[in-house]
Each structure stands twice: as C-alpha cells, then as structure tokens.
C-alpha cells in the first residue's frame, strides 16, 4: 500500500488515488512532426528507477498531483502540484 502525501489533504492511502501515467514529458508544439507526436503518445521511458508520474486524488481533493516514485522500491521521494518541477535529479534508491 502506497501512502501519498497530498499537498492539500495530507498523507492518504493509494486507494484514494488513481494513477494517470508518466508525467516526465511535455506535449510537443502543435507544429511538431508526426514522429515527435507518435513518440509522445506511445513511447515511454519506463525506467527501472525514479519515475515522475501523475496521480489523481479522486477520493479526496480531486486534484492532479505530480509524484516522484521509485519503481523498484516504491519509495516516494517527492509530491508536488502539476506546475512544479520535481527536484532533479532525485536522490538515489534505498
């Protein structure tokens, strides 16, 4: 069970949240080519390590959060609001 520290609601169980995928890559500009958009829609770095991702707090404030989580240890290093940039690079895995 993950515990995610929502900036508005405090630490809550993962069952209150819904996962919304990779948050590391910005949308390409409207005039970007097909290859760039294909990569943005379909390709994922899928790291075995630190991962920046979206979580929607559906069972709470209903806001979208940006979370930095380790995909092997499940440790959460940082939780922020969508406009924030996560600290870079996150500290190494435990």
């Amino acid at each position: 069970m993950l515990r995610i520290a929502c900036p508005w609601c405090g630490a809550r169980d993962e069952t209150e949240f819904r996962y919304r995928g990779d948050a590391s890559r910005p949308r390409p500009r409207a005039d970007a080519g097909l290859a760039e958009f294909t990569a943005w829609v379909y390709e994922r770095p899928n790291p075995r390590g630190w991962h920046v991702e979206w979580w929607l707090h559906v069972g709470g404030c209903r806001r979208l959060l940006k979370v930095v989580r380790h995909t092997l240890s499940d440790e959460i290093a940082w939780v922020g609001v969508p406009t924030e940039l996560p600290p870079s690079p996150p500290r190494s895995a435990p």
Binding site: M1, L2, D13, E14, T15, Y19, G21, D22, L34, A35, T38, A39, V41, Y42, E43, R44, P45, N46, P47, R48, H51, E53, R69, T71, L72, S73, D74
Partner: protein
C-alpha cells in the same frame, strides 16, 4: 515424476562437459522399465552449456517465449547455432508462475488467428516435445451480467465462429449446471449467461519451460543460465552481440524475449518502447476436493479461476495499476480479487490462500504483443505480452523463429510490428486507448 523429469539439483554443480549425453525419449515402456530397475536409468532432461564466443542467434531470456523460439528455430527452421542466455535459472520467471490458462477467445481477427495458432500448437505440443505438459482442454467459460455484455460476448463469439474457432453460447441454466458453486443471483451483478470455448483450458506451466528446454537442447541449442546481459553491443546501426559477466557473446541476430524488462534491455540499444512495466498477481488456495472443472471468468470485475489437478484454486485479477518493476504486488489489489472471488463463488470464502506471487509484465499501449524487428539491424523484440504471455508461448516462439529465419514476419503475427503505433494500426482489444494501466 516431477523430480525425475526435471533438471536435478545436482546439475547446479555440473558443466556442459559433465552432463550425460544419453537423453532417451520418454514413454510408457520406459516408465515401466525404470520402475522395475529402481529409477536409476533417468538422465538429465537437458544440458547446461558454457557460452561459445559467437552464435548465429542469441536469445536473451530463458522464459517460455525464449525457449520456444530457440526450439522452433532449431526444429522447424534448421538454425541450430543458437544460444538462450538467462539471468537466473530457466522457468523461474513468469512462465512458471501464472494462472496457466490457454484460450483463443479474442475479438480482433488478427488476435484470434494468432492465439488460435497457439491453441492448435498446444494441442499437439506434448507429442512434438515428447513431454507431458498436462494440456487440459477443460473449456473456458466467460460469464456476462448485463444485456449489453451479452451483446458484446455474442458479437465476440460470432467473430470467432466466422474464423472457424469454437465458441458456444451458454444459458443461465447451463452455467448453473456447469458451475454449481457459482452464485448466479447476486443482487448487483446477477449472472445472465456465458460463452464457452470448449477447447480452452489449462497447461502445467513448469512443464512448458522444461519441455521446450529439453527439446531445444536435444536439437542443439545452448541454454546458458546465470548469465545476465549487462549491455548490448551495437555499432554501425547493427547489433554485434551481448555483454555478460561471463564475457562478450557475439551474434548475427539478438532476440529480446524478456517481457517485463523489455524497456530496460531496449534502452541498452538506445530504443524507447511503446510500453510500461506493471505487476500482475496470481494466487493459489489450499487444495480441496474437485469443485470446478472449467476455467471460469467473471464479467463484473476482473477475476478468473480454475482448479489445479492438485486441488488448489488458481486465480487472479487485474494489474496493480501503476508502473513497477517490484515483483511482489500490493494488498489493495489482493483484496479486490478476493472480493470478486467470494462474490461469484461464496463457497470459497473460508479457503486459505497458500501462495501469492507478483510478476512484472510489458503492458503495451494497445494491449497487444510486439513481435518485431527494431530500428537496430539484427535486434528483434518478442515482448509486450501484457496478460497474455503464457497462452501465446507456442505461437510466439514459432512466429519469432520465423521472423529470425526469414527476416519477414509470419502471417499470423504480421500485425504485431512496432510500426503499428506510428501508422495507427493499433490492435486495441479493449478499446482503452494508449493507457497501459487500463488494458
């Protein structure tokens, strides 16, 4: 017989030179003869090999798909200069730990054709491999709970029958007869009926790894265990081989069959794949007397169950739902699976769960697998199996071997190429869009 027909612990200490050459066929006659001779005549099922400096084909991953690919390369395409390199021992990954279901009840014609090829290969597998894989075509029964779901299942069954695959509608009364244990009168999700694929069923998963390993080894393939690939050597846009702690192994063709870790291996060649890694859990209950003789799936939640020959209920549900390489799984998902189990089968509520396991898998952007060449010459990918990897092993191996041998895709797997995402030919069985956690 299990301990006699599988590689023994003694082999851990052996080398390629130390393995007895004699590997006779298994037969009833031999079983009787060994019974009378104190079981002393059995030899190792397959030999552990030391790596040679170069192979025509190196397959990374000694799971079901890697071993099957090696077997079909050697037996059907005459390519015997093949090595399978595996990080741990073979058969300890997803191939040995799943819910063992085989079926071809898909909707998209490309998927039906591929999984039907697999089902037909399962039907002849034991004869081809001379290995008892306990293929049991006990039927897979999918339940529906609403009128809309009935239409959807009828459409799917019709699609299958148009392509010559068996599918039968099952009335509510027949569901009750087939599965007396099921509660059809749940207030929220009553069972209205089901659809049955009589040729679906289960296979002994460990035996699949051992059977393919034994047959591949007999055909001349080198199986190299405890040999982790740490890097792919690529130069001039072409793959040259794999780096391992045991040294560099050169290859004309390198095939990745490491579903769950495809992205990690592909990244070694600078590739980013259209998939995410997620964990799927499986559960086994304590053994009980026979109470379920079909593979049963629940339509109001994600839940599937069968009973093993030992008596345990083997069941599972949905993926945990977020990127992870942690092979464990979390309790909220276990609770959801248990809730579906007791909703459909109230009688199992007091059964104890004996084992739980979480395995990581490639969840692709359209929920369908990838058997494809890659932008790196000579580097091929067999992956993206989502939930469907086990039942796909024979066809996955055969079509991947075809791709390696001919340089062109097998007709049954031609739509599983990496290029389908850019061109919009995605095979989205569920209609969920490019969100792996929804497939």
């Amino acid at each position: 017989m299990r301990h006699l027909m599988s590689p023994s612990v003694d082999q851990e200490r052996g080398t390629a030179d130390g393995i007895p050459a004699e590997r006779g066929r298994y037969s009833l006659w031999r079983l009787l003869r060994e019974g009378l001779r104190g079981q002393r005549g059995w030899s190792h099922a397959w030999a552990k090999a030391a790596a040679r400096p170069h192979y025509r084909v190196v397959i990374v991953g000694g799971g079901g798909h890697g071993l099957a690919t090696a077997y079909y390369l050697a037996s059907r395409f005459g390519i015997r200069d093949v090595a399978v390199v595996e990080r741990g021992p073979i058969g300890l990954g997803n191939v040995g730990r799943n819910t063992t279901i085989i079926r071809s009840n898909y909707f998209h014609p490309h998927n039906i054709r591929f999984y039907e090829l697999s089902l037909q290969l399962w039907e002849g597998l034991e004869r081809a491999l001379n290995f008892n894989a306990m293929v049991s075509q006990r039927g897979t029964l999918n339940l529906f709970h609403t009128e809309a779901q009935r239409d959807l299942f009828t459409r799917r069954a019709n699609q299958m029958r148009l392509l010559g695959v068996d599918a039968e509608p099952v009335s509510r009364a027949d569901v009750q007869r087939l599965v007396p244990l099921a509660d059809l009168d749940n207030g929220r999700y009553p069972v209205l009926g089901g659809f049955l694929q009589p040729r679906g069923g289960t296979v002994r998963h460990d035996a699949v790894a051992w059977g393919y390993a034994r047959a591949a080894c007999a055909a001349g393939v080198d199986i190299i265990e405890h040999c982790e690939v740490t890097a792919l050597r690529v130069s001039g846009g072409r793959v040259r081989g794999v780096e391992t702690p045991r040294g560099f192994i050169g290859a004309d063709t390198v095939c990745l069959a490491v579903a769950g870790h495809s992205s990690v291996l592909a990244a070694m060649a600078g590739l980013t794949l259209p998939l995410e890694t997620h964990v799927l859990q499986a559960f086994v209950s304590e053994a009980v007397k026979p109470l379920l003789d079909v593979v049963l799936t629940y339509g109001a939640g994600h839940f599937y169950v069968s009973q093993s020959d030992k008596g345990g209920l083997v069941f599972g549900g949905a993926i945990d739902g977020y990127n992870t390489y942690a092979q464990r799984g979390t309790l909220p998902t276990a609770e959801e699976v248990a809730a579906a189990a007791v909703t459909l089968l109230p009688g199992v509520a007091r059964l104890k769960v004996l084992r739980q396991w979480g395995g990581v898998m490639d969840m692709t952007m359209d929920g369908s697998p990838i058997i494809s060449q890659t932008p790196v010459d000579g580097l091929l990918l067999n992956g993206g199996w989502c939930y469907g990897g086990f039942k796909a092993i024979p066809a996955g191996g055969l079509t991947t071997a075809h791709l390696i041998a001919h340089g062109a895709p097998h007709p049954a797997a031609a739509h599983f190429d990496l290029g389908r995402f850019a061109s919009g030919r995605t095979l989205d069985e569920r209609g969920a869009g490019p969100f792996p956690y929804l497939h």
